[in-house]
Amino acid sequence: MCGIVGLHLRSPDLHPHLGELLTEMLCEMQDRGADSAGVAVYGDPRWSPPGHVAVSFMPDPTVLTLSTGVEVDALAAVLSLDLATPVTVVDAGPTLVAHAAGSAGVEALRAAVLAAFPDALVAGFGADVAVLKGVGHPRDLAAAYGLGGAQGWQGVGHTRMATESAVNAGGCHPYAVGPDQCLVHNGSFSNHATIRRDLRARGAVFDSENDTEVGARFVADRLAAGYDVETALKELCGTFDGFYTLLVSDSRSFAVVRDAIACKPAVIAETDDWVAMASEYRALVGLPGVESARLYEPEPERIYAWTR
């Protein structure tokens, strides 16, 4: 099954409440699968302060506990020395988030992280996004991430019932394989092995055997080639077989698409203050003003996108 949720806040008054709203949405979807859960948060001042670049990572992805056990200040000192610029590392439970001034460059920060932990799983990177992953129950993970206190303008969450690949850190969504990009998926792709081979032949490097990662790398490949999100998702619909409701985001946009059969559920709600998407309506009941929201289900193979 899997449950997916997303919240795109139009009203700045709600930015301080992003984390508490997203936590409630994510945990309400726990019945749809609770073997791992991840989130992407755009604009949190702890994880990705303005003017900074941030890299989210699991130092040792084979460690499936709610804490990395890494001493973050010592790690920050090592990364600062490597980059010759101050780096802060924030402990977010099973994931760590390193950030440095934007002038350091996200690729250099990512390289420094991988120099310190060659086997690290980079969960996400960019100027605005923090991507937190972990194996376990969404409620435990949300507490370990400190998600309730998160702020920002946009958040995405996924709670997983594994079907296509192992229950491990690499199988946990979201997949954030391009700068500030993020993709979560409810469903399963059936021709992912073929497409993975094609992408590998073109130089893509994969972190897992997960089907969704193939979708994320496909979208990132098309975005890197200059496509906009809508065109990239249209091409995904034409290339991938299987079942999917996808939520794809970057710093500015938030898009939803379902496959032609559309058996994986999705509900969208919109008010003047926010746009929200979830696998089921019950994930939305805690949102302010949901009683008067415009509620609808996305049509198959139609791309719904919002930008800020």
Partner: protein
């Protein structure tokens, strides 16, 4: 009369429903799903003993509040009773209903009134996928839109949709009637057996073996009765098109073999 229809399952002609309703009882029980576990509420509706709650009298009406999108609200009802649910419900609301009349004052999730046998289910908002799936009897009215696969494998239910329906609706429909005041998505009535479909608006495409058919006087009469039962008696049946099975898939055709 349609030989496929069982009068005991027909919402318009079910004598059991009226005879079993106690006209003396007029009280309404309010049950708040924010306070009571769903299992307790459903058990009470099934006539079972629930600690701390007085049993429902025969025919005692019920109002359920704060469903908050929960699954399986008011499923398996089997006695004449009016149940009103104030808010949106999740999957399978009022599934397997017999004899009860359930109103959802909100939207319904996947599979509302699935496998209904008799009685009625009315959704004042929209319904998600597979509304009325496999239902054998009763009347399902969705005043808003119904999403994909509305009436999939319907086996005798009557469904009236105030708005439009999504793709692959009435897939493998076997018996019953589906009335749509708006349009229908792709592949309407794919592999249909004997259900009758009446659509007023545009049909995006017809599924395999589903064809438009002429509206004869009995169809005008049948459609008029269904529209009236759903509260749309002002609609002109002549504005609707009837669709049904071409019956080309009933027999083996060697040209269809691979």
């Amino acid at each position: 009369m349609d030989p496929l229809r069982d009068p005991l399952r027909d919402p318009l002609r079910d004598p059991l429903r009226d005879s079993l309703r106690d006209p003396v009882v007029e009280s309404v029980r309010h049950l708040d799903l924010a306070e009571l576990p769903l299992r307790s509420v459903n058990a009470l509706l099934h006539g079972r003993e629930v600690e701390g709650l007085a049993p429902l009298a025969p025919g005692e009406d019920v109002v359920l509040t704060h469903p908050r999108g929960a699954h399986a609200v008011a499923v398996g009802l089997d006695s004449p009773r009016q149940v009103r649910i104030e808010g949106h419900v999740g999957y399978y609301a009022a599934g397997m209903n017999q004899r009860a009349d359930v109103v959802v004052d909100g939207n319904a999730g996947v599979g509302v009134a699935e496998n209904m046998m008799s009685g009625s289910v009315t959704v004042l908002g929209n319904a998600s996928q597979a509304a009325g799936a496999t239902a054998h009897g009763g009347l399902l009215v969705v005043h808003g839109d119904a999403a994909a696969r509305c009436g999939i494998s319907m086996k005798g239910v009557d469904i009236v949709v105030g708005g439009s329906i999504g793709h692959m609706s009435a897939f493998m429909a076997q018996a019953g009637r589906l009335v749509v005041r708006g349009g229908a998505g792709d592949a309407l009535g794919d592999s249909i057996y004997e259900a009758r479909l009446y659509v007023r608006g545009e049909v995006a495409s017809l599924g395999a073996d589903c064809v438009a058919k002429p509206m004869r006087p009995e169809h005008h009469e049948e459609l008029g009765a269904l529209l009236k039962a759903a509260g749309y008696e002002d609609d002109d049946p002549a504005a609707y098109t009837r669709y049904g099975s071409a019956r080309e898939l009933y027999h083996f055709d060697v040209d269809n073999a691979y």
